[in-house]
Amino acid sequence: MIPQVSQRKADTKRFVASLIAQRWFALTLVILVFCMFLGLRYPAFATLANFRAVSISLATNGIVGVGMCLLLVSREIDLSVGSNLALGGAISGLLLANGMSVPVSIIGGIFTSAFIGFVNGLVVDRLHVNCLIATLGMMGVARGITVLIVGGGILIINKYFSWLGQGTFLSLQFPVWVMIMITILAGILLKKHHFFRQTYYKGANEEAAILAGINVSFLRIFMYAFTGLLCGIAGVLATARFGVATSTAGFGMELEVISAVVIGGSSLQGGEGNILGAFLGVVLMTLITDALVIARVSVYWHRIIIGTVLIAAVAFDSWMSRYRAMA
């Protein structure tokens, strides 16, 4: 062959390999294929009604997923996100039911969850409790407080508040818009802002990060508090959407969000991952859950399948690393 042609062939091969190695590309491909398959097999899938049905779950998982991504990149984890979401929603419902205005109720709910996140950060950083244990404990505490406040459930009767969860703009529900804006903002910050980039340094080698002059303590507490804040936003939106603050909101959300973010490229070891990947991971997980519902798979099987998907995805990723070596 003429040398130029074979060189071009080698370059193309390398380019395609590097593209496949990119997490976002592979995920987008899987999502598109999955959507096509579902749309053909189950006509009910490709409808606006179906999208509306999954949109609150997509939105809350997406919003909390941003926080989880930041934590995983910095080699931390938060198991209390579901309980914190419920607590934020419960507080906002409680304030509303006691005659507080809509803005005050919203801020009250969000602030409470942010504070819970802040406490998580303090316990991990100042009391040196392992983050898995600390947030596991908080998961129980926050859920317990929620149950105490909410009892059977707090009904939302305020139409302005309900609009937050149910109103649409350009045929997308408000929570979805909130998720989109938060995702874009976080994506830009993590990629381009020096403070957020520090999460990669901390996750890659915490000791070296300290020696390099990075304030790891502040970063850690900030990320937990920020995740708490996001849980609060998600909790308020969920309560608004369902019109009731329940004690079971966000139950089991941790598993789904962590799986989504890990599939999206964040490693539990820290130092790796990005917001785009996390977002695509959330989309995929939401799609899978939706598919299971549409296909009328028994609810008891959902957890089994989600768990299997996580293991399969990570195993596939190790196999994929040979493509990364080529790139």
Partner: protein
Amino acid sequence: MESPKHEDKRKPVLEARRITKKFSGIVALFQVDLRLYPNEILALLGDNGAGKSTLIKCLSGAHSPSEGEIFVRGERIIISNPKKAKSLGVETIYQDMALFDILNVPSNLFAGKPLIRSWGFLDDKSMKRESVRILNRLDIRVRSLNQVVRNLSGGQRHAVSIGRAVYVGNTPQIVLMDEPTAGLGVEESNKLLQTILDLKEEGISVILISHNLDHVFAVADRAVVLRGGKLVGEKDIKKTNRTEIVQMMLGVV
């Protein structure tokens, strides 16, 4: 505040007085005095466990001394953390180099000292450009800037850590190096020793911990010996020899 009486009439650029460091009952350093003068390479010697790394960490902000005082350019300072040390012009290259294995070369070079545009946003393009310049200056070749540092050779990794300490941000006045030639081959060692001499040429003072006396005698001006956490000797390199140094290190007189 007067320096204690000493033959040398120069003013030290870094001085540690009666530094003591305890770790839950174990005394790692006991009343150690050390002076570093402008434009010199000072070797910090001692057998394993003598306290050399501990002393360096007290000067770099990684540890706080239990007792004692530190003076930078004549002024009493408390070096509370690594960031403070850097702001005073003291940069440190640790034994394990404190690199970020899974991150690439520019990220490692600019760790803790990123180039920032307005609103705190990173200037990645400039950092890439500067990285190329620094790598050339240190005479290192890498396959690609995006290569992760884990895959670099020992000498290349050392060069990256020196690059970060010396050539990124403000030029330091004092560089502390803990076993820089450990694990390096002959050619890489010689390159590194030459780099240390170049630093002295640029007006930077260096404290060098090394087990390799050949390297020490090749570049150092003075040597200070620790044993069991205490200072046991201070000599001009030209006025001493390997035997005397080893005797001080091992306590054989």
